[in-house]
């Protein structure tokens, strides 16, 4: 059994004025120590919402059911004190859009040092400073940059600061939520290199969220594809990217060619229509309305996730066992 993170039947529902909106519907996900798992899907498929439950960071309007076990303990029910101790020291996050995720009026050095000071308050100042310098060097920034403010850094540098910050307390798990979305392609590659090198070097487990399946295929051991709040396919990275079972995973692979024109990424080939509105999900398979292989039966019942081999499953009735 995976020893780091186990999510069992997790559902997240947002209460809004227009009624309840299910963002995540019964997701299972597991991650072992040192493993890198990719979570793929279009925006609005529930992947970020799912990730926010790992540190219980979902907005107050959301209700979460199921279990989120971090090292065997349920994050959703643990006391606030235990939760605070877990946050950042057990699992940390790299958010997308580092400009907004960093406090604009505090020096980045202070912001990197903050979790260290919170989780090990007895650490002497000099040691904290040295650690901040070390972390900055690890992500390829000179330690003197600790005195800079976020607005003085470039987008790529800010994202590296986020990574340094995520490593500050030597966590066992890093949740990286679209860490490179806001960056241009060259910088994206640099930041991803830093991230993957460090994660491998330090043996940290990572849940990496992206809409770009090719990026995930490069970095991850396993990939989980989500659609309409549910997992539609999971398996080894190469298997899912190279030979997807579920038609949606296949379309997603085709939409993000590994080497290619970055302009193509916002015009996914072979994927007509829009992602489903979680407030108005179609009956049966959520992907059926856009699916080239859909038959009438697809709209009757929500397809269950079925096993195809040891480490492979997909939720599609059109896939032959």
């Amino acid at each position: 059994m995976p020893d780091l993170l186990t999510m069992r039947d997790v559902s997240v529902t947002y209460r809004t004025e227009g009624g309840d909106v299910p963002a995540v519907r019964g997701v299972d996900l597991a991650l072992s120590r040192g493993e890198i798992v990719g979570l793929a899907g279009e925006s609005g498929c529930g992947k970020s919402t799912l990730a926010s439950t790992i540190l219980r960071l979902q907005p107050p309007s959301a209700t979460v059911t199921g279990q989120v076990l971090f090292e065997g303990e349920d994050v959703l029910t643990m006391s606030w004190g235990d939760l605070r101790a877990l946050r950042w020291a057990g699992a940390s996050m790299v958010f997308q859009g580092a400009l907004h995720s960093l406090n604009p009026v505090r020096r980045i050095g202070d912001q990197i040092a903050e979790p260290i000071r919170v989780h090990s308050p007895e650490t002497p100042d000099r040691e904290v400073e040295a650690r901040v310098g070390e972390l900055l060097e690890q992500v390829g920034l000179p330690p003197t940059r600790a005195r800079a403010y976020p607005h003085q850094l470039s987008g790529g540098q800010r994202q590296r600061v986020m990574i340094a910050m995520a490593l500050a307390c030597r966590p066992r798990l890093i949740v990286a939520d679209e860490p490179t979305t806001a960056l241009d392609v060259m910088v994206q590659a640099q930041v991803l290199d830093v991230l993957s090198a460090l994660v491998h070097e330090l043996g940290v487990g990572m849940l990496m969220i992206s809409h770009d399946l090719s990026v995930l295929a490069d970095l991850c051991d396993r990939i989980v594809v989500m659609y309409g709040g549910r997992v539609v396919e999971t398996g080894p990275a190469e298997g899912v990217f190279g030979g997807a079972l579920h038609p949606y995973a296949g379309a997603l692979s085709a939409a993000f060619p590994r080497v290619g024109d970055p302009r193509a990424r916002f015009a996914p080939s072979g994927l007509p229509g829009d992602p489903p509105d979680p407030a108005q999900l179609p009956p049966g398979c959520a992907f059926a309305p856009r699916c080239p292989r859909a038959i009438e039966e697809c709209t009757r019942a929500v397809p269950e996730l079925r096993s195809f081999g040891a480490d492979r499953s997909a939720a599609c009735i059109r896939v032959a066992s």
Binding site: L57, R84, A85, W88, S101, R106, G140, R147, Y149, A197
Partner: protein, 346 residues
């Protein structure tokens, strides 16, 4: 990997830009703006008091002069029979050398009067502004943090009502209830003034006596000022609460109260500082009317009393002091903003 571990760009290895230079440039631009405002204020005052009234000797004297010699004397004293540019120069010279004319009512130099009357105003306005800022910001933080709570609704409603109230009317009510007495409430506070006649103001008893006299006016002004600050602080903190860096702070394992005090509040204080700076004129208005209602011998009362005569040079003097005070306070707030927000420095 090779790209990542070596510092990639020149910007990376560059030292952070020296802070003082950025701030220095900011200070310079703000000081230049304040100097511009001060000069503009002098021009406005010149036009208000010498050009608009038409024949200043007649309007300013208003029946005070009975024979042509007096008018001639008056005009010569103020250089009013010279050309306009010439008059402006004389006016500038006089103003900068501290010669603001002689009060028609008191027959003493206006500058002496102003200096004499400045302290009660500074005491009243200073105390009230500090109290109002502290209480207002606190109310705003509490309201925004527990948005929609009973406390929030009560404090927002009270703030809006206070904001809609002429501050001097509030003062009148407080006098009626707490100084004159109303029903079972005894009137324990003085109805006005700064000292009792029988106490030496410099003794300990005198200081306490002054504090006693200032209690109601300070409460009035504090309530009047804090409404604005509470509303502004509340809305700018609400703006901050949706920001991503607060999620980061929470994810780091910080207690909610630390997230609020260390991350949200400092950022929310920035727009509040700007608004407080812009409300300096409002502070002056409050001083004028509340001093009138409580008969506190400050600059505001001096100006209002000069209205009845009308004592133009005193009016001009109080106008210049009030405007200069607002401009300088504004400048101070801007400079403080520069210290608080690193983004304006660079």
């Amino acid at each position: 990997m090779s790209l990542a571990t070596t510092p990639t760009t020149a910007v990376d290895s560059a030292e952070p830009r020296p802070r003082r230079r950025g701030y220095g440039r900011y200070v310079l631009s703000k000081v230049a703006g304040a100097v511009g405002s001060l000069l503009f204020m002098l021009v406005v005052s010149f036009f208000l008091f010498r050009v608009l009234p038409g024949d200043p000797a007649r309007t300013l004297g208003r029946g005070r002069f009975t024979n042509p010699e007096q008018i001639e004397e008056f005009n010569r004293t103020y250089g009013l029979n010279e050309s306009l540019p010439r008059q402006f120069l004389t006016y500038l010279q006089n103003t900068f050398s501290g010669d603001l004319g002689i009060s028609l009512k008191y027959r003493v130099p206006v500058s002496d009067l102003l200096l004499d009357r400045m302290w009660p105003t500074l005491l009243l306005v200073g105390t009230s502004t500090i109290l109002a800022t502290v209480i207002g910001v606190w109310l705003g933080i509490r309201g925004a943090w527990n948005r929609g709570s009973t406390f929030d609704k009560a404090s927002t409603g009270a703030s809006l009502t206070l904001y809609s109230m002429p501050e001097w009317w509030l003062g009148l009510l407080l006098i009626a209830v707490f100084a004159v007495g109303w029903g079972p409430i005894p009137g324990i506070f003085p109805t006005g003034g700064l000292h009792s006649t029988d106490v030496d103001p410099s003794s300990l008893a005198g200081v306490l006596d002054t504090a006693w006299h200032l209690t109601l006016p300070v409460i009035t002004l504090t309530l009047a000022y804090l409404a604005d600050y509470a509303l502004i602080m509340r809305s700018s903190l609400l703006d901050e609460l949706g920001e991503d860096y607060l999620t980061t702070a929470r994810a780091k394992g910080l207690r909610d109260i630390v997230v609020r005090n260390r991350h949200a509040v400092p950022n929310a204080l920035l727009p509040t500082t700007t608004v407080i700076a812009l409300s300096m004129g409002f502070i002056v208005s409050g001083a004028i009317t509340v001093e009138t209602v409580f008969s506190i011998p400050g600059l505001g009362l001096l100006g209002v009393e000069a209205l009845e005569v009308p004592d133009y040079w005193v009016l001009q003097g109080t106008f210049l002091v009030a405007a200069a005070g607002v401009i300088l306070a504004n400048l101070a707030a801007n400079l403080l903003y520069g210290i608080l927000d690193p983004r304006v420095r660079t």
